[in-house]
């Protein structure tokens, strides 16, 4: 289970970083989302991966660590707000700057390509 879980996190981060480096706002937003999924999974695992343990305190002697779940919840909420903001900002950037590059201007080779 650990191997599967760790590779999931790893693949998500890899895809996220790749998309971030595309330097166009839409892939960047997708990349940020993937990285935040990976981070949430990772945070979740910081309480150790276990099976068949009680979720709520007091229902059994053997229980799962509740704190990482609270942390993940907070991280999800914050990540959601931030993603919403960056989507709006990207749309604004596309309107203001006339292209979707994160620097606000296309590089020379890209411009030639377009012509």
């Amino acid at each position: 289970m650990e191997l599967l879980y760790a590779s999931c996190v790893g693949v998500l981060v890899t895809c996220g970083v790749f998309l971030l480096l595309r330097a166009r706002t839409f892939p960047v937003v997708l990349g940020l989302t993937m990285i935040s999924y990976a981070v949430n999974l990772f945070l979740f695992s910081s309480g150790r991966l276990t099976i068949n343990k009680a979720v709520v305190l007091g229902t059994g002697a053997d229980y799962a660590d509740p704190l990482p779940q609270a942390l993940v919840l907070t991280a999800i909420v914050i990540g959601f707000a931030m993603t919403a903001f960056v989507v709006i900002l990207s749309i604004r950037g596309r309107a203001d700057l006339g292209n979707d590059h994160v620097d606000g201007s296309l590089t020379r080779s890209k411009r030639k390509e377009r012509k």
Binding site: L20, T25, V28, L32, I35, S36, A38, V39, F42, L43, S45, S46, G47, R48, L67, P68, L71, T74, A75, I78, G79, A81, M82, F85, V86, L89, S90, R92, G93, D96, L97, V102, D103, G104
Partner: protein, 505 residues
């Protein structure tokens, strides 16, 4: 009431921001301005009260919801954090008043947003829980994203895209670092972590080291340390100047977090991880000073020059963090207060100069004369001398103190030449800026009759910031004494741990 005092610097700005969003204030500009200024002043008054309380009675630990540490979240008001909270609230009053002069009409929600920003900054300073530091970082960041866009325009959108995306990646790294540390230590309370780090054995040591260094990356991004500083000059120079003045405190949040984490958690008591980040911090800080000084020399306008001055001050502060002794931390505190006030003043001054010079703006080229040469000129000389560190202003005291602290350490061999050459670069750059802004007149046509004098509120805030920086010298004895006590309190790690873990109310 008095036992809840430590929570008020967080609750009051939140209340202020919510009131400002509600109908009576949302509709009337006058009501909005009045409420915002009054609430900012009230927050400042409360923080001063807290400062006096903490100075007299020692650390105040406030357990939220009465859940004692390390299980609940605590607010820890020690001398260091209350000093910074007071500084933030003071800057908040200045920015709220300055905004009332007209800058708040350029976009919506200026006043609520500055209160949200103050809420985030105060929270990050006061909290005793590392995950809560993350939450308050996000609060202040989302307020700052919106404030950076205040006024709109291409340069702002471009700067905001970089700023927002970089910080989102930074937040992810922060969470990964926190996850590793929680997995290893089983706690995120700063005092409790400091307790548990020395007990680590085997592989856990390296995991904790990885987590701790990931945090270093995040704090370096927030405080704009060298390889991660590229967002700062553009963001600060393209933000509305009054917003940039408030941002002057934001890099200091990063410096504060670095100071707290690498002095308390990974400090001298940390066993195998003792002074883990010191060599990194030292090298990067020196490089930041150099890059900042080059940026100051190369700047084409006054706002960019000031933004690079922020970099120089960050470099200096982090170099002092790396030294990790009481004297250096005390010098850091003094210099931190001084540099925040003076860079804020310089951003506001750049705004006034830009308005009065018409088309030339704050670019360092000849243009028409400013309308109020004596007032703005005098302010520029005072601010310039302060930021360079010439006597008799606060920069001089800070600089002498910093040089004296480093004198007997082996690092002086690197630090002194870099620091003194940087000062020379600042003198050259700022005198050149002053010469071209005030004396070089190419455009004789405009007599300035088409621009209004600076609004009395703007002048009051600007003069207030400069006077407070002069007061740092006049009451230098009190200020240095306070800084020394605060530093001693921070470095008394076991005392701090005991206060937090056993003293929760």
């Amino acid at each position: 009431m008095i036992q809840h005092l430590a929570s008020l610097p967080i609750l009051l700005p939140m209340l202020a921001a919510i009131i400002l969003l509600l109908p009576p204030c949302g509709k009337s500009l006058f009501a909005r301005r009045l409420t915002s200024s009054l609430m900012a002043i009230l927050t400042f008054a409360v923080t001063v009260l807290l400062l006096v309380q903490v100075k007299d009675n020692g650390i105040i630990v406030y357990a939220i919801g009465n859940w004692s540490a390390p299980f609940g979240i605590v607010l820890v008001a020690d001398m260091l954090s209350t000093l910074l909270v007071t500084l933030t609230a003071f800057l908040g009053v200045g920015v709220a008043l300055y905004g009332c002069a007209g800058d708040d009409e350029q976009g919506s929600f200026f006043h609520p947003l500055i209160h949200f920003l103050i809420l985030g900054v105060n929270g990050a300073f006061l909290t005793g829980d590392l995950f809560n530091v993350f939450v308050f970082f996000e609060v202040l960041l989302i307020a700052s994203y919106a404030l950076l866009m205040h006024g709109g325009g291409k340069p702002k959108t471009r700067a905001a895209l970089h700023y927002v995306i970089l910080n989102l990646v930074g937040s992810s790294v922060f969470l990964i670092g926190l996850g590793i540390l929680y997995g290893v230590l089983g706690t995120l309370n700063i005092a409790d972590m400091a307790n548990k780090v020395p007990l680590l054995t085997g592989d856990d040591v390296y995991l904790a080291k990885a987590g701790g260094l990931l945090l270093l990356v995040v704090f370096a991004l927030k405080s704009a340390l060298l390889p991660l500083h590229l967002w700062l000059p553009n963001a600060y120079a393209s933000a509305t100047p009054v917003v940039a003045a408030l941002f002057a405190i934001m890099t200091k949040v990063g410096v504060y977090a670095t100071l707290r984490v690498y002095t308390v958690i990974f400090g001298e008591q940390a066993g195998e991880l003792e002074h883990m980040a010191q060599s990194w911090l030292w090298a990067l800080a020196i490089a930041t000073i150099v890059i900042g000084a080059i940026g100051v020399l190369a700047a084409q306008d006054l706002r960019k020059l000031t933004a690079n001055l922020v970099l120089v001050s960050v470099g200096t502060l982090v170099a002092l963090v790396a030294l990790q002794n009481i004297n250096a931390t005390a010098a850091l505190l003094y210099y931190l207060v001084h540099s925040t006030l003076v860079t804020a003043a310089l951003f506001l001054l750049a705004d006034l100069i830009a308005i009065q010079r018409g088309k030339a703006g704050d670019r360092l080229v000849g243009g028409r004369a400013v309308k109020q040469p004596f007032l703005l000129g005098a302010c520029f000389i005072i601010a310039g001398l302060t930021v360079i560190g010439m006597p008799p202003f606060s920069g001089f005291v800070g600089k002498i103190w910093i040089l004296k602290t480093t004198l007997n350490s082996e690092q002086a061999l690197v630090f002194w030449p870099v620091y003194l050459i940087m000062s020379l670069a600042l003198i050259v750059a700022i005198s050149r800026a002053g010469t071209s802004l005030f004396w070089e007149r190419k455009d004789k046509t405009g007599d300035g009759s088409d621009v209004a004098n600076a609004h009395p509120l703007q002048v009051t805030v600007l003069v207030g910031l400069l006077v407070s920086s002069i007061l740092l010298v006049v009451f230098g004895d009190v200020a240095t004494q306070y800084a020394l006590e605060a530093a001693a309190q921070l470095h008394d790690i076991s005392g701090g741990i005991n206060a937090v873990l056993k003293g929760g109310m």
